[in-house]
């Protein structure tokens, strides 16, 4: 394969050309209430060619990998229509490597009957909880082999495994519908979703308790976020803004996001990196063949660096960070997060709560999105904090804020870092991309909560 691709890549008049070929198998299992709605297997073969000519890009994706040379020529022709200036693309050392997926208990080799047995058990726990109306369970695992070659001599084969499970318990009473979800994932370890019986039972009971919970009153509060939600906060509120493809051609944003700008107090450190091993956003090389790194986005409250592809790094005069990722062969790689987290501080949860007269403790993730400046994210579980103690359960709350203000408003960082593996990130049409987020408990003053 290596020689074949090298041959196809030879002798073109382009600044850079790459080929990606991909084979994958995905198994999905979906339950709705008692019905096992779908059990299916999808296999996929496809690929793409991306070409750079005079700073313009051409991209061709396909399912039929025949006549690869014609596809390379089409991508180059398209790039030539676009390109008008000198290309800027970071230099990296060509790599030849074959990466085997590391696995503890490979989900793709677990028999379908065993998967079903486990999910049946969880589903029974949810459905046997009084006042639970129904459940949703979505399970998928995938095995992927990606072959990457470029005109600089790089040839990489990467084998990847991924696993994701989302369980939802839906409770109803008197026309009210409440739901709680649990998301889990791993990079090729089926045991990550085993033994969850107690968690699932607790989740279903909590969905029922929500039926009688009051809504929060809209307004500004001091909020304490649990590690799961604080991880989503790190991802939404800051992570996306550090993706350089939003910044590199936007002079005003470059001025705002100038390295060295203070975003928070000295206790604040935010990191992203695929080189942090064993997490859902981990890999050895990104989808441009750049080795994974660990990047301090904010160190001691100050903007230190940002996430790059080879193009954005070259155009901003910075080093590539190995963050160019493509959901699959249908899309070109763009700058994405991998494993994003707030580093732990020293405050205990108890101390964090103790001096809050009235506030909100928000837990667990439901969703999140950002416009770069403004972000919103929602908690699946929330409690009032009164006089330093957790008080009544609330309906789920949506939190919103302005990134430039909110990071400065973090006034306590906990000592209990925890990574969450159930998330999938969306950007453009490329969703859901496996990522992980994490944080210790954090406290934010003056955070805006939508009321009910």
């Amino acid at each position: 394969m290596r020689d074949e691709l090298a041959d196809v890549l030879k002798g073109h008049n382009a600044d850079y050309v790459e080929i990606r070929l991909e084979e994958s198998q995905i198994t999905r299992i979906i339950y709705r209430g008692e019905r096992l709605e779908e059990v299916g297997t999808t296999s996929s073969v496809g690929g793409n060619v991306r070409a750079l000519v005079k700073d313009g890009w051409g991209f061709v994706s396909f399912n039929h990998a025949d006549k690869l040379r014609d596809k390379v020529e089409l991508a180059i022709k398209q790039a030539r229509l676009v390109g008008k200036e000198d290309s800027k693309f970071s230099q990296i050392e060509p790599v030849v490597d074959i990466v085997i997926a590391k696995t503890k208990r490979n989900p793709t080799t677990v028999p379908l009957a065993s998967k079903k047995q486990l999910l049946d058990e969880y589903n029974d726990i949810i459905l046997s909880t009084p006042k639970i109306q129904t459940s949703n369970i979505g399970y998928h695992d995938s095995r992927r082999k990606i072959t990457f070659a470029n005109s600089e001599g790089t040839y990489i084969e990467q084998n990847k495994l991924d696993l994701n499970l989302r369980l939802t318990a839906i409770a109803t009473e008197d026309g009210q519908v409440q739901q709680i979800g649990l998301s889990l994932g791993s990079q090729g370890d089926f045991s990550a979703i085993e033994g969850l019986q107690d968690q699932v039972r607790e989740m279903a009971q909590r969905a029922v308790r929500l039926l009688s919970a009051p809504h929060a009153k809209g307004g500004e509060y001091t909020v304490v976020l649990d590690p799961v939600l604080a991880g989503v906060f790190a991802h939404e509120a800051f992570g996306h803004l550090s993706e350089s493809d939003f910044v590199y051609e936007n002079q005003r944003l470059c001025d705002i996001m100038v390295l060295g700008r203070r975003f928070g107090d000295e206790h604040l450190n935010i990191v992203d990196g695929a080189a942090v091993p064993g997490l859902r956003g981990s890999y050895k090389y990104d989808d441009e063949g750049v080795p994974a790194a660990k990047t301090y986005l904010i160190r001691e409250g100050i903007l230190e660096s940002r996430l790059h592809s080879r193009e954005t790094a070259a155009k901003m005069g910075e080093m590539p960070t190995g963050n160019a990722r493509a959901l699959n062969y249908v899309f070109p790689p763009i700058v994405r997060m991998t494993n994003t987290f707030i580093e732990p501080g020293s405050v205990s949860l108890e101390d964090m709560l103790s001096d809050i007269k009235e506030g909100i403790y928000a837990k667990d993730w439901y969703g999140g999105t950002t416009s770069l400046e403004m972000f919103t994210f929602s908690a699946a579980e929330a409690y009032m904090i009164r006089n330093g103690k957790l008080a009544e359960l609330l309906r789920p709350v949506v939190l919103s804020g302005n990134v430039f203000v909110t990071l400065n408003n973090i006034n306590a960082i906990g000592n209990d870092l925890q990574m969450s593996q159930g998330g999938g990130c969306g950007k453009g049409q490329q969703v859901p991309l496996p990522v992980s987020n994490g944080s210790p408990h954090i406290r934010i003053r003056r955070c805006l909560i939508g009321g009910g």
Partner: protein, 434 residues
């Protein structure tokens, strides 16, 4: 695909093969200039079979041996749910215009020119705006055959023009945007340009707003971003069947304002969600969902309809798996109040044009809560400027139960929803204290 069907027929009671192929050509502009031209070709084949009364399923993108696809589906059926339906035998499909051969004549150069003109128009209005735009053309062809003699095939063309602009001043970011889609080529950038210009004009000045309940007008984009997701979920026949829709036992009851009507329509000519039949060969139709406030019908595919003892509404749609009920084009009926009269009527209130994050709340219950990404304050019957750091929250059922007015003018949002403005007498607004 005939070979797949004949192999599957040998080992099962019933089988169906669904094949879709597409070619799309997106032209992307970034930071006001042409950035990338793409050609995306895809082809996939899905096999659904019924054996021992149960449903098996497999799917492949790209080449696969017919035997492998059949074996993959055969591995799954034993774990799956019982099939309550038969694949349709012969159906008669009405002619729906969704293919325009003119699409072939549009060149890449034409598309580049269209995008450039749009961006030029925006920069003439607001020189500092940074635009991301895309112009996309494409064709899709669908072919379905089943063991009961049913067969359907059609081709569809599509064209899309979209623009997102950002204007940054100090630490403030203003986001504007619009898009337009059709099965026919779009030659004129002015519809999108006019809408985005309107947003820029209204958003020039930033004003503050207070935390309280107040009257709110949802623009068509506001309706799409704030109110539609809970409704789409509530009218999904599957969610009704699960008992998780608040409307599950409300058919025939008046739940919404009498001026509020909503229907699903897959038969509109040249709309991108139109087609002669759905993804399991059931003919397309127009389905009333809310008729003058009364809950009328829910959306069904074959299996869900059979489980609910009703008929499919032709809304079986595939999203990488088995068909599942999904809306085609959704239409909200127009009212009789012009937008300017709604604004005139408000002493202090808010116009919501884009709500971010609304779909993150408890959709099933109809709750929405989001950040007003683009919204304007109304004072003394006039729009006075754009609001920031503002959240609204409410419940779709409460909002739509009593509307102050339904707008006279309707427009398409993203090619999938046509709606007027909706004027709601009171909604909870929360904002930063300053």
């Amino acid at each position: 695909m005939e070979e797949i069907l004949s192999r599957a027929k040998k080992v099962t009671e019933q089988a169906e093969v669904f094949q879709i192929s597409s070619k799309r050509t997106p032209v992307h502009f970034q930071a006001n200039r042409l950035k990338q031209i793409q050609t995306k070709e895809s082809a996939s084949t899905a096999l659904r079979l019924i054996k021992g009364g149960k449903i098996g399923f497999s799917q492949a993108s790209g080449f696969i041996e017919p035997e492998t696809l059949v074996n993959m589906a055969m591995e799954t059926y034993q774990f799956s749910m019982p099939a309550k339906f038969n694949f349709p035998s012969s159906n008669v499909y009405s002619q729906i215009d969704i293919f325009d051969p003119q699409i072939d004549e549009v060149t890449i150069d034409d598309m580049v020119e269209l995008g450039e003109k749009l961006i030029t128009a925006m920069r003439q209005h607001t020189p500092d705006i940074l635009c991301e735009a895309s112009v996309t053309k494409g064709i899709i062809s669908v072919h379905i055959i089943n063991s009961e003699g049913g067969e359907a095939s059609y081709g569809k063309s599509f064209f899309d023009l979209s623009l997102e602009g950002v204007l940054i001043q100090n630490d403030d970011m203003l986001f504007v945007g619009d898009s337009q889609s059709s099965c026919r080529p779009i030659f004129n950038f002015k519809t999108v340009a006019k809408e985005v210009t309107r947003q820029l004009e209204l958003a020039k000045k930033i004003v503050s707003i207070s935390t309280k309940s107040m009257p709110v007008i949802f623009t068509p984009r506001g309706v799409a971003s704030a109110l539609m997701a809970p409704l789409v979920s509530a009218f999904n026949g599957k969610i009704v069947l699960d008992g998780a829709s608040p409307l599950k036992d409300k058919r025939g009851e008046k739940v919404f304002d009498e001026n509020f009507s909503l229907w699903d329509d897959a038969t509109l000519p040249y709309q991108i969600a139109s087609c002669p039949c759905d993804d399991e060969e059931v003919p397309s139709q127009r389905t009333p969902l809310i008729d003058h406030g009364v809950v009328s019908q829910f959306l069904y595919d074959l299996q869900t309809a059979a489980l609910a003892n009703t008929q499919s509404t032709g809304n079986g749609s595939r999203h990488g798996g088995l068909p599942t009920p999904s809306p085609s084009s959704l239409i909200i009926g127009e009212g009789d109040v012009p937008f300017r009269d709604m604004v005139k009527d408000i002493k202090q209130g808010l116009i919501i044009d884009q709500l971010m994050g609304a779909e993150q709340g408890n959709l099933l219950n109809g709750d929405f809560s989001g950040n007003v990404l683009l919204g304007y304050k109304v004072e003394g019957g006039e729009i006075v400027g754009r609001v920031k750091d503002t959240m609204v929250s409410g419940n779709v059922y409460q909002v739509l139960k009593q509307l102050e007015a339904v707008g006279q003018e309707t427009r398409w949002v993203g090619g999938l929803l046509r709606t007027p403005c909706l004027y709601c007498p009171s909604l909870s607004v929360a904002t930063k204290a300053g």
